[in-house]
Amino acid sequence: MNLTLKVWRQKNADDPGQFETYDAPGIIPDMSFLEMLDVVNDQLIAAGKEPIAFDSDCREGICGTCSLVINGTPHGGQKATTACQLHMRHFSDGDTITIEPWRARPFPVLRDLVVDRGAFDRIIQAGGFVSVNTGGTPEANGLPVLKDDADLAMDAAQCIGCGACVAACKNASAMLFVSAKISHLGLLPQGKVEKDRRALKMVAQMDQEGFGNCTVTGSCEAVCPKEISINFIARMNGDYAVALLKQGA
């Protein structure tokens, strides 16, 4: 296949950035999308030009590093698939493909397609954990957990923290990400002790980072490579309201 790429190039956080157009000839349908970019980059380097900077690591859809908006959709629009798992057999010869970074104010562009998602880490640091130290924990089977609760917690816990939900949302809301963690821990007896505190702290940090609120358009759920359900946002809103009431606010 011969393709044309329109790629966002931006030297650093201060550079305004612009689209550049590149030819991508001889692309094989079995290539992954990122392997296609590897080929283009190898050609750019050989020609003495600077390669396109993009984040990727595991290339099997679990580390959450890759973060490309492809033809306007985070991760490229294939259901339950990260950009690294998208394969070129889903494109056609002669296609023009637009590639951009996540676009959201709390995720500043560092270079080309690379963004800073440190805001997600700071939200977890604010309360996305169970406060247990290493050692002295009770016997694992000492506390039975309803299988349905454990399964639902696992559905939420699958979030890979890629940030596609934020990139897809017109409000740049991080509520799918935040609610996934609040739900994962809140559903399990181990996490219930700190449930209220966790909801208050994580939501406060989310607001402080500048993420918007949810207006229930569902775009986050549609692009989520792990198919995290928007129902978790409702659960988070409930947890947050209860915590606020208990706090007497």
Binding site: D57, G61, G64, A80, D121, V132, P138, A140
Partner: protein, 646 residues
């Protein structure tokens, strides 16, 4: 150099408890006076950084990823072993210990492995308390399943994403400590040098991968938890950015490197589809619980529709050769069986360079027995992943799999305390050589990473600090000290050199060429002739690299090409040690298969008389051959036996 493994005296089962009692302690009020540097934030590094910070030490943790949550531990799928015996099927610490020693082909240190089996039970307790959503039964208790190299069900799992969930548990503990101000986290920061003063590791030099700024960090102890070196083969199941740089730089500063030839080739990976391939993808070993491995009996059937081949014309290779373990034979054995079948011309899948490199992993029987829904519940995400990559539906036709480089058992040599031969430098997880011998069993990597991070380093690092510094007023080495200045200058000089070459070939082309060379001659089957050729060819390629590589951009910006060049430059040096170690180990054991040493049935032939040791290579200076130090492996508890899974 005289290697001292510092194995505590006394009966095996009491060594760790006795040692814990004998170790020196640092008073809680004094711990904050000590700075501990942790490189890497995976299971071992993340767990160690969190736990050391909980204890009260000042921790600085560095990772090259954009967040500590992205370390490659996250990609582990199948599960984590622990001797809980919840299934009442005869498990015990002794049995997990024995299975691990045997699985490693009797090339691991007894005392370390026994300790690993002991703390395995604490790991599950710890992770459950953190809220790791392990699979459960309807009664609410934890579910377990079986894995390769074991006849028990001792593997705990969280769907096909166990590594992810365990890593997120460690990441959340680490995040809590970051939030409390006890850990200072440096993401997108790569370690490029260990700083040594008066024979002790006293700090590191790192590069900020966004600004390019190079800075020095001083500490009283340094922990490397930087993973394995599988990407020396270019194609592996490792994440793209996994590299050997941290442990290699430490090697050149005095931390011996042990058993690099022990590399694990995983049998169930998606076959290569072409030259463009950037990495290989693992399909969890848990699939072998229900999938049956087969190839056609006749080479003429290889391009036929698998469903049209009658049972009588199929060769269920593993069930035939290893009836008692069948499809759950250990990884090295299953991989070699697949390779042999393909070498005999009975491989399946597309013809690439005149060969079909694949065998079937068939779920037809399991689907008939349990129904498609049950199989989907067990492995749905893996079947989906297979379809995304190959475009094929494995519910309707058998998967095609082929072995690929997956894990490296070799690594920095460490003593019982996980300290390297460079005092003050500790190495944990896949980065060290310690517990898996010549082959690692499935679901044991997660166990080892967390054992090292949660339950071993937090004791042994404290013991080192108490023994080597004044607890009330530990002396801190200023980053203005000449040792730091020299290390900074060396890092700068190397980066400048890489940028100045401005040759004709890309870093990727060198890496790909190196990987192919190492895979062909030091992969699943190794020969003296091939290894000698490799030892001739690697230095030539390295020389060409330093004359002809093209690295774009500058050092003062986000420059992925420059990062990659530095890592490949280290692989080009490391590969030579890998080949040398493989040449010197004149026996076959576990993941190291020398064609000269096999029995009549083609099984690996160990030589316990001459090679029952860990080979720890010591750097002797530029241009000089490394020095081989041997740590004899003494088996007091178990009897060395031929490793049979028949």
């Amino acid at each position: 150099m005289k290697l001292d493994a510092k194995i505590p005296a006394g009966p095996l089962a009491q060594k760790w408890d006795k040692h814990k009692f004998e170790m020196k302690l640092v008073n809680p009020a004094n711990r904050r006076k000590f700075d501990v540097i942790v490189i890497g934030s995976g299971l071992a590094g993340g767990a160690a950084a969190a736990t050391l910070a909980e204890q009260g030490y000042n921790v600085k943790c560095f990772c090259f990823q954009d967040s500590p949550r992205r370390a490659h531990s996250i990609a582990a799928q199948g599960g984590i072993n622990a001797a809980k015996n919840y299934k009442n099927d005869g498990d015990s610490v002794q049995r997990l210990f024995y299975d691990t020693i045997k699985g490693g082909d009797f090339r691991a240190r007894e005392a370390n492995v026994y300790r690993l089996a002991q703390v395995s039970v604490n790991i599950i307790d710890q992770c459950v308390a953190q809220g790791v959503p392990f699979a459960r039964e309807y009664g609410g208790l934890l579910d377990t399943r079986s894995f390769g190299g074991s006849q028990l069900q001792r593997t705990f799992y969280a769907r096909g994403q166990t590594g992810q969930q365990l890593l997120l548990g460690a990441y959340q503990s680490l995040s809590r400590q970051i939030g409390l101000g006890n850990v200072k986290m440096f993401s997108r920061t790569e370690m490029l040098e260990v700083v040594v003063a008066k024979g002790q590791a006293r700090g590191v030099i790192v590069r900020d991968l966004v600004s390019g700024e190079i800075t020095a960090h001083s500490g009283h102890a340094v922990v490397l938890a930087t993973g394995g070196y599988g990407n020396v083969f270019f194609l592996s199941t490792n994440a793209k950015l996994c590299n050997v740089t941290a442990t290699w730089r430490a090697y050149k500063k005095g931390a011996c490197y042990a058993n690099p030839c022990y590399t694990q080739i995983h049998p169930t990976c998606i076959p290569v589809s072409g030259e463009h391939q950037s990495k290989l993808t693992l399909m969890s070993e848990s699939l072998r619980n229900d999938g049956r491995v087969w190839v056609p009996k006749k080479a003429a059937d290889c391009d036929k529709d698998p469903k049209s081949i009658p049972e009588s014309d199929r060769d269920y290779v593993l069930e035939r050769k290893y009836p008692s373990f069948g499809n759950l034979a250990p990884r090295d054995i299953a991989s070699r069986a697949a390779k042999e079948a393909c070498d005999e011309g009975r491989g399946v899948g597309p013809l690439i360079d005149g060969k079909r490199l694949g065998v079937y992993l068939d779920f037809t029987d399991a689907i008939a027995r349990f129904g498609e829904a049950k199989i989907r519940e067990r492995y749905g995400n893996l079947f989906d992943m297979y379809e995304r990559i190959t475009g094929e539906n494995a519910y309707q036709q058998p998967m095609r799999i082929y072995p690929a480089v997956h894990y490296t058992m070799g690594g920095t040599w460490v003593d019982y305390n996980l300290m390297s031969t460079l005092p003050g430098l500790f190495v944990a997880g896949e980065a060290n050589f310690s517990d898996h011998g010549a082959n690692r069993l499935g679901a044991s990597a997660l166990m080892q990473g967390l054992a090292d991070g949660y339950f071993i380093l937090p004791y042994t690092v404290g013991n080192y600090l108490a023994a080597n510094y004044s607890a009330a007023k530990p002396e801190t080495l200023s980053t203005a000290a000449p040792e730091f200045k020299a290390a900074l200058a060396a890092v700068n000089e190397r980066l400048t050199r890489l940028l100045k070459i401005n040759g004709q070939r890309t870093v990727l082309s060198f890496h790909r060429q190196l990987g192919k060379m190492v895979w062909d001659k030091c992969g699943m089957a190794r020969s003296e002739k091939g290894l000698k050729e490799l030892l001739r060819d690697i230095p030539a390629l390295r020389e060409e690299f330093w004359k002809n590589v093209k690295v774009t951009g500058t050092g003062e910006e986000l420059n992925q090409d420059l990062e990659y060049a530095g890592r490949v430059a280290d692989f080009l040096e490391f590969a030579e040690l890998l080949a040398l170690d493989a040449l010197e180990r004149k026996e076959s054991c576990g993941g190291h298969f020398r064609v000269e040493y096999q029995d009549q049935e083609g099984e690996a032939q160990r030589n316990d008389d001459d090679f029952c040791h860990a080979a720890a290579w010591e750097y002797a200076g530029p241009g000089k051959p490394p020095i081989l130090n041997k740590e004899p492996l003494v088996f007091e508890d178990i009897h060395l036996a031929k490793r049979s899974y028949k």
